[in-house]
């Protein structure tokens, strides 16, 4: 059984309280349609389980199959440096079929980011090293495609793209 190799830490982007009894980690790719499909399911899950759930998103851009995935991950992380990671994360998934340079700029403006800083940060070592370390932690944890979920450190193999499969897994972890 594959296990999360890198514990949730201060570099992670989280929704929920670190003290929550259940931790759900997603390894995702902004251009992957299956991750786009899972995006509203996660929103619903966070509503249903509210205080019980801590959600963590880590980057797993599959660059050979998704040419814009890396750029999108950089955009999200750069927005994160201005405390707008989740806002950008949402915009990217909500416009998954329109990931291009124009829209990246447009999203950043929509979020009122300081544009000079945003553009500089996108290719900064801070951003690339975060994405690379996310990716490596995923590989070492047995991520086998996107999205891959871990619930309380155990890889979820029963996710079948339905809300129920996620909700059942969370309930079983309780």
């Amino acid at each position: 059984m594959a296990k999360l190799n890198t514990p949730v830490g201060p570099r992670d982007h989280i929704i929920g309280k670190p003290s929550a009894p259940i931790t759900l980690v997603e390894y995702g790719d902004y251009e992957c349609s299956h991750c786009g499909h899972a995006y509203p399911l996660i929103k619903k899950l966070l509503k249903q389980f509210n205080n019980e759930l801590l959600f963590v998103f880590r980057n797993f851009p599959l660059q050979e199959s998704h040419p814009d995935a890396m750029a999108a991950a950089e955009v999200a992380e750069a927005a994160g440096l201005q405390n707008k990671f989740w806002e950008m994360h949402d915009l990217l998934y909500e416009h998954q079929d329109e990931l291009d340079e124009n829209n990246f700029g447009y999203f950043a403006e929509t979020l009122d980011l300081k544009m000079d800083k945003f553009q500089n940060d996108r290719n900064s070592s801070a951003v690339t090293s975060k994405i690379e370390s996310d990716f490596e932690s995923g590989i070492r944890s047995g991520v086998n495609g996107t999205p891959t979920f871990f619930i309380n450190d155990k890889r979820l193999d029963n996710y079948d793209a339905t809300y129920e499969s996620l909700a059942d897994a969370v309930m079983q972890a309780e």
Partner: protein
């Protein structure tokens, strides 16, 4: 049962492209990862071969060569490989069908395809780690990397 640790890996020569063959014994001196898998074009997003394609740089750190093997033909492999931008060879265990897979214990008689089985071979083509994945589950790359890391540790001890 698939071949286990300590077994010498049976040699083989299979097509890696329509006009090229790859012989296992020619890779002597390198670590080799053999990934038997059921079929090209399987439906899961970023499937197993796609994942290995993204993790080649991690394998290369250990001087390990990744090789995929299935019973698909050389022309099918060529199309699949081009479509997915794969940067490692796919071998066609096509004629006689599944011969190599059978020698490794990695053949599904009922389906007529290779099983999803992984082997890590040392520089002398001795199997140092093998793993049969449950049906329908992509094993990921963590087991391979752990095996390569172990081999590296032992080498450094010597």
């Amino acid at each position: 049962m698939i071949l286990q640790k300590g077994t010498r890996a049976p040699d083989f020569e299979l097509n890696s492209t329509p006009d090229q063959k790859l012989k296992l014994s020619d890779l002597k001196g390198q670590l080799v990862i053999l990934a038997f898998y059921p079929a090209d074009w399987s439906p899961v997003c970023s499937d197993q071969m796609g994942l290995y394609n993204e993790t080649l740089s991690f394998f290369h750190k250990y001087n390990a060569q990744m090789i995929g093997i299935s019973v698909d033909s050389k022309w099918c492999h060529l199309a699949f490989s081009k479509h997915r931008n794969l940067h490692f060879p796919l071998l066609a265990d096509f004629e006689p069908k599944g011969k190599v897979s059978k020698e490794y214990g990695a053949y599904n008689e009922k389906e007529g395809t290779s099983l999803r089985a992984l082997f890590v071979l040392d520089e002398n083509a001795t199997i140092q780690w093998s793993y049969l994945s449950p049906e329908g589950i992509n094993p990921g790359a963590d087991g391979i990397l752990n095996a390569l890391e172990e081999l590296n540790k032992e080498k450094n001890k010597k």
